[in-house]
Symmetry: C2
Subunit: 215 residues, 2 copies
Amino acid sequence: MGIQERKERDKEELRRKIIAAATELFREEAYDAVGMRKIADKVEYSVGTLYLYYKDKDELFLAVQEEAFRQAFAYIQQLPETDDPLERLHGLGERYVRYGMENPELYRLMFMMEHPMQALSQSDDWRSGILLHQLLTEIVQDCISAGRLKSDDPHRMSFALWSFVHGMVSLRISHRLDIYNGEHLNCPLCGEDVEQLVIDTNKMMMKILEVPKQL
Amino acid sequence: MGIQERKERDKEELRRKIIAAATELFREEAYDAVGMRKIADKVEYSVGTLYLYYKDKDELFLAVQEEAFRQAFAYIQQLPETDDPLERLHGLGERYVRYGMENPELYRLMFMMEHPMQALSQSDDWRSGILLHQLLTEIVQDCISAGRLKSDDPHRMSFALWSFVHGMVSLRISHRLDIYNGEHLNCPLCGEDVEQLVIDTNKMMMKILEVPKQL
DNA sequence: TAAATAAAATGAACGCTGTTCATTTTAATG
DNA sequence: CATTAAAATGAACAGCGTTCATTTTATTTA
């Protein structure tokens, strides 16, 4: 009587394969460039089959988004042990921007695209995204408790810091920081590599928000 | 012999009309939802005609982007007279986020979409965007000169502040702040209206970065 | 004014997209 | 082996951006 079970396992596995293939394609190509036929080719099934497993492209990419969140969370939460929570906060920001800039298309999917959001609303995808946000809030909380951060509102500060790093990453990804390359602007930042600029500016912000250690 | 001139004026006017129509459509509909046929309908010409005036959709929307930048700059640079440059900086940020949140699709075009950027590179569209950036840098410069801002690097600070407000606006526009609505997170921010949250958080950041006035 | 020429505008057609569904293939059951 | 259920298929459809032979409009010449 294990046939039903095996069939369901098979179905679940194909679902996984589809998402894995789509995620892989998505890592290097933009949303519009990754068509349903291309995904179907990669998993070696026909186009129509995809629609037996996912209602439409939106739903499929919502699942890819969830997968991307898992991967991002796994990468970002690896933080070195430290006594100083502010150092952890700095590390968190740095890993965040690095991950975003190294996986621009996945980052787009997670944080910039309008498409797959409308569907979610109150679904419990986004779980890893929420976890990431909670991790941030906890560390900010720790920093404030330790008297190392110029803030008395951990939640609002978390939102502010998220916005800050997301702002840098998304401007980078959308090539808006290219203005620092040409001769449009002439300012001291123009020489620097833009990815280094993002990392350095995160560091600067941390320094400004820091409450110096008591001696 | 004014016929040539009149013809060129006519051509220029139709170009203007096309951009005006496209901009209007774009104010309320997303990039993908605004097709060439829809724009053609609005200006009461056929689809093919659009291609006599703009090489392709990218080029057309690059012109819309330029128009959007003009409008955004015109709105944002209206700042009240004040002695305190920090107040000006605060006002600039607030107008920036308000404009962005009130014109989400145009904001997307200006700062979030990948599409029309590749074409530009070193073209001199983006002029109004550059102006906006220069305005920001000037005000930040003034704040530092007046000893009102915790920074010694006006250019990097400008980039940081731009990233911060852009981060908030773009997260809002992409509906990523909806996590503050549901029961995903349970934090004090959740009650607040998200647009007010953005405005208030900008204010908070200004307070933190402020060097108190000397008595 | 009429004919000839140049310029501008047209919209059907092409290859692409996401999506559907009648058909075929495969697997499980009697 | 025959029957039935389940799964996979891919041609077909409507929409997209884009092209280009054709038609319409405007200008110049006879």
